[in-house]
Structures are given as structure tokens and as C-alpha cells.
Symmetry: C2
Subunit: 294 residues, 2 copies
Amino acid sequence: MNKAEQMLENYRRLIEGALKKHINEAPDLQKSVRDAMAYSLFIGGKRIRPALLLEFCRVCGGNVESALNFACAVEMIHTYSLIHDDLPCMDNSDFRRGRPSCHKKFGEDIALLAGDGLLTLAFETALKTENIPAGRVIKAAVILARAAGVDGMIGGQVIDLESEGRAIPLDTLLKMYSLKTGALIKASAVIGCVLAGAGDNIVNAAETYAENIGLCFQIVDDILDLEGDEATLGKPIGSDERNRKSTFVTLNGPVIAKQKAAYLAKSAKESLKIFGEEALPLAELADMLLYRNS
Amino acid sequence: MNKAEQMLENYRRLIEGALKKHINEAPDLQKSVRDAMAYSLFIGGKRIRPALLLEFCRVCGGNVESALNFACAVEMIHTYSLIHDDLPCMDNSDFRRGRPSCHKKFGEDIALLAGDGLLTLAFETALKTENIPAGRVIKAAVILARAAGVDGMIGGQVIDLESEGRAIPLDTLLKMYSLKTGALIKASAVIGCVLAGAGDNIVNAAETYAENIGLCFQIVDDILDLEGDEATLGKPIGSDERNRKSTFVTLNGPVIAKQKAAYLAKSAKESLKIFGEEALPLAELADMLLYRNS
């Protein structure tokens, strides 16, 4: 394992342990919705957002243990967005990571409420952060809410819905990417710094890194949908073209897409200079996201 | 107008002005979802929850102006719950307060996202509270999240879903009432006190008051569904019996229901003693909720 893989693996264990605790903490009153929340939280995933949050907290000299509540909150918000995204009135996806999506397993009503429950639990969990000054906790929670809201992730969803089945200009596509997936990735990095009490120049560097890997990740996704290996990916390829979906690849072709992705990973690494040697795992992470095949 | 009506009217203006500001504050990026949020926020309603919050803040000597962000947050959460409740996979209601429900007007996908957006904006708005110590703001926001979450409002929804079309025991019904509508009403009163920095005995009194008027409100609803005037109510009566829905009236009959509602209003008023004369509007509010005919 390289340093990035090691980092992700260490944080994955930490995060999943904490998520289990938060989901089981409250009395087992409404079992069905709690089961649905747990099912979707533990259906898999790389836990990249919470790992970014914790790693930026660490490289800024902050206390990783204290930042764990926010890391869980970010993952809960990511999970709720997937549950609501999969619903029949949205993407109508029967599967998520090779398993039945939440509403296929628990019914639409419970899936809707499980998403609502995770979004609400995210804020409760974040706000129960200990050993970090209250002012910082509030600042971080506002960043989280903005990134998840109408001017962030939800706004990106709306652009996505309104672009369905028709060609959209590149600037609309980039706007959609930056909101739908970029906003929460960026917020994760920034919150890690804010919880550690980092200054503005540090926060800006983290923001630039996250913007670059966020877009890189998305463009690599688009490339894999054209050229990936179905067995490795675990899902059929070519879906973007079949659904006449505008992506970076359908708009610019695979050659320019690959150049762009490589350029973004390089820019991400450059923005890490301010952190020195400590940021080596984050630099490797940028390459890992660029060279991934699943 | 009596003192309660005057109080509600004054706060209604204050709250609706603040809600307009919050909904229009951010750049007009995703118009459709923002329009849907605004539509449901301004479709009407008594604004009882935010009024309770502000009035308890006032009687505790707090600054009503500073508590306004939390008042808006509570109303946003109430509104989001109605939007999601009306969706086809939940209650499938085409109308809300005599007008098309959010999804009938904007489509299911946008309505789902409008609900998500309001829940998220609620926390952003609450956390942007100014001129109140950060520790109090966090404490109040955690109370809000718990009341809205799986162990509060959402948990009540789950009991409601799982009780559909079948008789349930009285204790399950009371549990459902206390979570589905009671939790947010109680949180509103408590948050008002917490923001004002009130002590535990005061908070407990507010909690008792809110629990009593919350259940009273619900039982009066059940009575009106049996005996109300359709024209005054603005909706057909007898729906609970038609849908074989267990309510306090279907389980205990109207005579016991009326006795219980009157007893609850009386208990609510008694719990206000600690606040002295300042609490006169809140006492009148308890009677108003008992004697209402719509």
C-alpha cells in the first residue's frame, strides 16, 4: 500500500467505528428507519470525504479525534444524497454499489425518511463535537450546511435534473460538477482546516486542492464510463452515451478529458506546497484518483 | 383581538419578513427549487412554532430579534416535513391548505429537493444567529436536530406509516403524537428559553406547557375531523373514520377527548405560573387552541 491507501484505510476504520456508534447511540425506537440508515451508511464506499476532512485537520496540527464527529456528518450527508438520488422520482436506480438501493430494500417511504434522518443526524453529530472552541464548530457547521444546500450539492442536483436528456454547454456542466460533487468535497477539506484553527492562506490552499481533485474525480468517472472495464467497475459502461447525458467526455472527447484530468491532479499537488512533507499522502491521493480504474 | 391573537399576529409579520430575507438572500442560481421552497413556506399557516419560540424567549428576558433566526429555522423544518409528507410515496396529498401541494405544482423531484433544501437551510440559518453566546447557539441547534430527527419528528412519521389502516393501542398513538407533532412544538418553546439563557426550572416549565398544548392541539384536530364544520375547516370531515385511522377520538370517543383536551389546556396554563403576568398571552393561546373551530 502507498501512503494514500494507508491513510484511507486507517481513516476508514476510524470513521466506520464512529458511524456505528452514532447510529446505534439513541434508543432503538424506530427500527425500520434506523435499519435503512445503517444499511446505506455501510453499503460500502471509499470514505474519501471524511478522510479528507481528518487528514487536513491532521496536517494543520489539529486533533483528529475531535474532528471525527464532523467526518461522520460529512459521510451521513453524502449517504443521504445517494438515498434520495436513487428514488424513483429522481434517478430511479434499483442498485447502489451492486446491492439493492435503499428504497428497493426498505420501500420508498422509509428510504425518504432515512435520507431525512441522516441529514438531520449529520447536524446533530457535528454540533456535538467536543474539545474544539464553540465558535469554530459553528463556523464549520455553517460551511457544511452551505455546501449541502441549495447553493451547493442540492443546487447541483437541480442543474442535473434540468439538463436531463439534452446537451448542455460546458460551463453549465462544470457548474453542475462543482456543486453536485465538488461542494461537499471542498467543504470536507476546508472544515478539517477550520476545526484545526488554520489561517486563511492554509484554508485557501486546501480549497484549491479539493476543487482540483473533485473535478479530476468527476472527469475520470466520465472517462471510465467510456473506456473502463465492466468487471473492474462493477457496472455497465457506455451509460452516458446511451442516456445522451452531457459529460466532460461527451462534450470534449476522451483525449482532452485525459489531459484535463492529469492537469487537475498536478494542480492539486502543487497547491499542497504550503503543507510541506506532511502532505505526501494527500499528494499520492491526487494521483490515485487520477490513475484509478474503478 | 385578545392578547394571544395579537401576539401571533405580531410575530407572524416578524417571522414572514425574516423568512423572505433568508430565502432570497443567496444568489438566484437554482430558481426552480428556490421557488418551490418559497411557495411552501408562504402557503399559509399560523406560525405557532416560531411564535412560541420568540414568546418564550421574550418572557425569559431574552432578545427576540436575536432569536429570529431560530424561529425561521423551526418554521423551515415544519414546512419541509409537510412537503415530504405530501409526496406520493407518503400521504399522497394533492392539496395543502386548499392549494396544490408542492409536488403537484413543481413536480416530485423538485419537491423532494425543496424539502431537503429547507431542512439544510434551517440549520444554516439557526447557526448564523448573532449576539447570542456560541455555546447557547450550539445547545439550541442540538435540541432542534434531536426534535426533528429519528428520535423526534421523523420517528413519529415512521410510527404513523407503520400504523396505517390498522387499530393501534392508545400508548402507541400518544407516542406517535408526542413525536410527530409534539417534539418540534416542545423544542420551539425550549429553544426560546435556552437562547435567553434561562435556568433549568424555567426550561422545564416551558417544556410542560408545550407538551400539554401540543397534545391538546392534536386532540382538538381529531375532534374537528368528527364534528367540525367543513366550510370553516376548509377540508372534508370524517376522513379519519373513512381511512380507519386510529385517533384519540376513534379510540376514546368524543366525550373523553373533549375532557382530555380541556384538562391539557388547564395543565398548560398552570405550568406558566413561574413566568408571572408576562405569560398571559401564552395562557390565552392555550385556550385559543382548545376552543378553535379551524
